[in-house]
């Protein structure tokens, strides 16, 4: 009997609804990159358009060309590299000091309810004291040299970081602790070999966020009798109304921040490849 061709045998045309607007669904990688680039391009175009009209005084909003020219001037200037070096040192010193103290303290807060009770409400309180308001106190306590600037960045990041580390420790599934007890782990081994290891990717991500905040506090820190630094230079430019140069420094700060952020992400993905998260 000859096989009968029925409707079921006919291969249908494939029609998939490939909308880019499905909630939380992925879009092609090229599309994502193109959108990211267009975001920047859009702002650039808008900026050029607005600055070439007479809407705004060019002293306040220079044209992109003026900023480009300023960039070339600034890059040839030795003070830029000194500024970057000093600012980088201050941020990194304050941030590293915060991390070194915040990680053990955060682990204590996350692991022991006693530690949480003693430190968490206190930390939450201090966290809400605005850092710039501390400048006079810090000048008295730590002088007007590097120490007070580093300490200011430390205060800005430490209290945030402690809470985030404690949260990451609490996020470790309790069953991982239980299973290590039944395998014979003592309490110190459980902290060292299980809690800390399990929380590491999350803590590393908290460091990434805190590094960003450290750069924000840099500008505040350099209000204290600085002679160089990216934040200091911006203040100085503003005193002389050199707006194109201000924009150059702002863009440089953005570039530095974004690069560090990317670096943290890449390292996280490499080192903690075992972590089962799509977000990091």
């Amino acid at each position: 009997m000859a096989a009968e061709v029925t409707d079921l045998d006919r291969k249908p045309e494939i029609r998939r609804p490939q909308s880019w607007f499905r909630l939380r669904r992925d879009i092609p990688a090229w599309g994502y990159r193109a959108l990211a680039a267009s975001g920047f391009a859009l702002v650039l175009v808008l900026w050029a358009w607005v600055s070439h009209r007479d809407f705004v005084n060019p002293v306040f909003l220079p044209t992109p060309e003026a900023v480009w020219q300023a960039l070339r001037d600034v890059l040839g200037d030795a003070s830029l590299w000194l500024d970057i070096k000093m600012s980088f040192f201050r941020v990194t010193a304050g941030f590293a000091l915060a991390a070194v103290v915040a990680i053990p303290v955060g682990i204590t807060m996350g692991a022991f309810r006693v530690g949480e009770g003693l430190l968490q409400p206190l930390t939450e309180f201090i966290r809400y004291i605005p850092v710039p308001a501390l400048i006079p106190i810090f000048m008295v306590l730590f002088g007007i040299d590097e120490l007070s600037k580093v300490m200011l960045i430390w205060v800005g990041t430490f209290f945030q970081l402690v809470l985030m580390v404690a949260d990451e420790i609490r996020r470790v599934p309790y069953e991982l602790l239980q299973v290590s007890y039944t395998l014979g782990a003592r309490r110190d081994e459980t902290i060292r070999l299980v809690l800390w290891r399990a929380a590491m990717p999350g803590i590393f991500d908290a460091l990434r966020l805190c590094n960003g905040w450290a750069w924000t506090y840099l500008v505040v820190a350099e209000l204290i009798a600085a002679n160089e630094g990216l934040g200091y230079r911006i203040l100085k430019f503003s005193r002389f109304l050199q707006t194109p140069k201000i924009w150059v420094y702002l863009i440089l700060l953005g570039v530095i921040g974004l690069s560090l952020d990317l670096l943290f992400r890449v390292v996280n993905r490499r080192v903690f490849h075992w972590a089962d998260t799509t977000k990091r």
Binding site: E175, Q178, S180, T182, H273, D276
Partner: protein, 284 residues
């Protein structure tokens, strides 16, 4: 007796309310036995296991292992949980050997350490995990994760292996494979196993003895010996035998006395029909 549970009870107190999770319960497990605690959810069987593991405190009674009172968690009672509890930062081989790095354990005699090491390798081999020893947990299926967890617990040579619904999260086919592997391991190792499940077939197929628990507050309704031969004599076809069915029927009736009478199907159906008629009329 390997494991003795005497008058164990658990009461949760919250302000004025008290919740009796487990009425005073006693039982014993002999060396090399495979005993299952079978009961509906919330009957205190998991609580019993957690107390024996030392992970929860009893409100009364005591647990003795080899005549010694259990006071907290320890390596002599290995545990396999229902949820996947592998350490995600360690590969399969390192997960299985986690206990070797603990306590005074790394100070073991070199020969003993080498012997344990080969033992873990052969356990991984039996579990079909040899080619996955470098894989990380996120790359494994649920069944594979549980197999590693079992090897990890056995690597420690526990006196008792406690298993809390270890196959509860697996699909039916994987669960059957895991049951076969459990029979194999038990036949080979003769490790004493205390197993918790609410799956009647699983209980019969694996155990030498079943303790049937009542719903809350939990207590042992009956101590049911399983008449089938030990370990490897149990072919999957056993599940189709008349004796198996009879035992299954008996256990189901113990667990849900009168469950089939409680529900008046006709009345429920009638009420559904009434409801939809009513809605139809409203629609027009």
């Amino acid at each position: 007796m390997k494991l003795q549970v005497r008058q164990l009870e658990k009461v949760y107190r919250q302000r004025r309310e008290t919740l009796r999770a487990l009425d005073p319960t006693s039982f014993q497990v002999g060396d090399g036995e495979f005993v299952t605690l079978l009961g509906p959810s919330g009957c205190g069987k998991s609580t019993t296991l957690q107390i024996i593991a030392g992970l929860e405190e009893a409100s009364g009674g005591e647990v003795l292992l080899d005549g010694e009172q259990v006071l907290g968690p320890g390596r002599d009672r290995g545990m396999v949980f229902q949820n996947y509890t592998l350490f995600p930062w360690l590969d399969v081989a390192a997960n299985a050997r986690f206990s070797f790095a603990l306590g005074g354990n790394h100070a073991r005699h070199r020969e003993a350490a080498a012997r344990d090491d080969t033992r873990v390798d052969s356990l991984l081999e039996v579990m079909g995990l040899r080619t996955f020893s470098r894989a990380y947990p996120r790359e494994l299926s649920g069944g594979m994760k549980q197999r590693v967890a079992i090897v990890r617990a056995l690597a420690n040579r526990p006196k008792v292996l406690l298993m809390d619904e270890p196959f509860g999260a697996l699909d039916a086919q994987t669960r059957e494979e895991m049951q076969e592997l459990m029979l194999l391991l038990h036949a080979h190792d003769r490790t004493t196993v205390l197993f918790v499940t609410h799956d009647v077939e699983e209980a019969i197929y694996l155990s030498t003895r079943i303790l049937v628990f009542s719903a809350r507050p939990g207590r042992i309704l009956e101590d049911v010996p399983v008449p089938f031969g030990p370990g490897l004599d149990r072919h999957p076809d056993v599940k189709l035998s008349v004796e198996f069915m009879q035992l299954k029927r008996k256990l189901i009736h113990l667990l849900h006395p009168g469950a089939h009478v409680d529900m008046d199907r006709q009345a429920l159906l009638a009420s559904l029909v009434r409801q939809s008629n009513h809605n139809d009329r409203k629609g027009t």
